[in-house]
């Protein structure tokens, strides 16, 4: 379907960096997935989806190295040691990695969601890497914002391929392939053109329209109603996409929208209702916005844009429920030892509804925030505050100020007292 773009991604020899820069919903990840499938017979392509925890260069490069080794098992490099400092990483580890890549031969690395990486040391280390890596290696990044890498120099040397929103948008032929071939809607060419015009070729908008149309009896009425109005595409379509589903499936979609990723048991816990796994499978089969994260059909995530729309709808239909859902997700992740995600939900659970209607559960006099509870739980283990920070992707200072605040609220002055008091208060 996106043949012309996959061609563009077959960058000429000597291309060091390919940049896909466009807002949410332009199909960057999907396109890279299709390109990767075509490329893999010729050279290995490693894949890393960046998240905001990767802002520490040591964390970033340990994930990059792991992704490279997974794609290229013969790559002669050891894992980044956990206790390495930034200077050693730059002076010793990265040069070794570059040598290993040179010895290995043609390969590529995709960094998806590159915008999650804030400017700073992690981005600088990548710029340094791109500058020195041999031209047999291609770095491909997908990003919603300017990557903040030295694109000018690469462009001048013919080492850069760029694809931006103007090129990533759908033309009528591509929209027709999506709507008629993939979704089987059998629309007239003029109807397809009207949808492309209304969405300005924005792939997510066209797909949302397609999902709505699948369950709409009078398609031409829908197309003209949609084309005629001034309402933004996302505003118009969220109801249309949700409403045709069973109430159970609607609830699943709305309530799981607070989750970064989801599996059957986690959704069951958040919804306090069984049967999520089957509904998830069924949804994933019919909705491209439900993205599988593994081959086993266990973990999924919503497309970010779709998740955001669902959260808007959740707040509209069930105001103030989100913190409760976060709290259930937090409990599940604590039980399963996935602490980084537990902490994310702790942040969500701490945010009260606008009217303050959402009362946090009673924790006696201590009244620790959910974030502090996660840190308190970590303090019962063997890790130092610095290591806890690493584990939770928080700075040492943040962990330290959380634990000071915990001590203060519990009226104690040491870690062991805090643990004792926490246990006797039933907090941990």
């Amino acid at each position: 379907m996106r043949g012309r773009l996959v061609e563009r991604l077959q960058a000429p020899a000597g291309t060091k960096l390919t940049v896909l820069a466009a807002p949410a919903g332009y199909g960057k990840t999907t396109l890279l997935g299709a390109w990767r499938e075509r490329q893999v017979p010729q050279r290995p392509i490693a894949w890393l989806t960046v998240d905001e925890g990767d802002n520490d260069p040591v964390v970033l490069w340990s994930y990059v190295t792991a992704a490279l080794v997974e794609a290229c098992p013969a790559l002669d490099v050891t894992a980044v040691p956990g206790n390495v400092d930034e200077a050693t990483l730059m002076d010793a580890f990265l040069p070794r990695l570059i040598n290993a890549i040179a010895a290995f031969g043609p390969a590529a690395l995709v960094l998806d969601d590159f915008h999650e990486l804030a400017s700073g040391p992690a981005r600088d280390s990548l710029a340094w890497f791109i500058d020195r890596v041999p031209s047999t290696f291609q770095l491909v990044i997908a990003t919603r914002s300017e990557p903040g890498l030295p694109l000018g120099a690469l462009r001048a040397h013919g080492e850069l391929v760029e694809l931006r929103a103007a090129e990533l948008g759908f033309d009528a032929t591509e929209a027709e392939a999506l709507l008629n071939d993939l979704l089987g809607l059998g629309l007239e060419r003029t109807q397809v053109e009207a949808l492309v015009e209304r969405t300005e070729g924005w792939p997510a908008g066209i797909y949302l329209a397609g999902l709505s149309l699948q369950r709409t009896p009078d398609r031409s009425e829908f197309v003209s109603r949609f084309s005629g109005g001034n309402r933004h595409v996302v505003d118009f379509l969220v109801d249309e996409v949700l409403n045709p589903h069973d109430p159970d499936v609607q609830t699943l979609m709305l309530h799981s929208s607070v989750l970064g990723r989801m599996c059957g048991p986690l959704c069951d816990a958040v919804l306090e209702k069984e049967g999520s796994e089957e509904r998830l499978h069924e949804l994933a089969r019919t909705n491209l916005f439900v993205v599988p994260l593994d081959d086993r059909g266990e973990w999924y995530r919503f497309h970010q844009l779709f998740a955001q729309l669902l959260r808007v709808e959740l707040e509209h239909r069930e105001p103030g429920l989100a913190p409760t859902l976060h709290r259930r997700a937090l409990a599940w992740h604590l039980r399963h030892g996935t602490l980084e995600e537990a902490l994310e939900h702790a942040v969500g659970a701490d945010s009260l509804g606008e009217d303050g209607a959402n009362e946090p559960p009673d924790r006696g006099q201590a009244d620790l925030s959910e974030r502090e509870l996660v840190v308190l739980r970590m303090l019962t283990g063997p890790l130092s505050e610095r290591d806890i920070g690493r584990e939770l992707y928080l700075s040492h200072n943040t962990v330290h100020s959380h634990s000071r605040s915990i001590y203060r609220k519990l009226g104690v002055s040491s870690r062991s007292e805090a643990i004792r008091r926490g246990r006797s208060a039933g907090l941990i």
């Binding site: 949410a24 309402r231 933004h232 996302v234 606008e354």
Partner: protein, 83 residues
Amino acid sequence: MGATYRIVVRGEIDDRFAFLFNGMRMERVEGTTVLTGSVVDQAQLHGYIERLAELGLDLLGIEQLGEPVGFAARAPTQGKGKE
């Protein structure tokens, strides 16, 4: 640092989106939506812009309208340089 901002995006969106922007006022004007309200600091402002991007909304304009009265009244010093 708190101040009132006006943010203009393309397309008309419903008030239900307002909670993503801490209840900023939303007005729909000829195919655009105008969000007006106070913003605590630059970090919050950037958060709002990021949220617009997540929704695929095009940003048309953004301007500071001056500090809200409530904030100025709370500020400890008089005669601040900013309008």
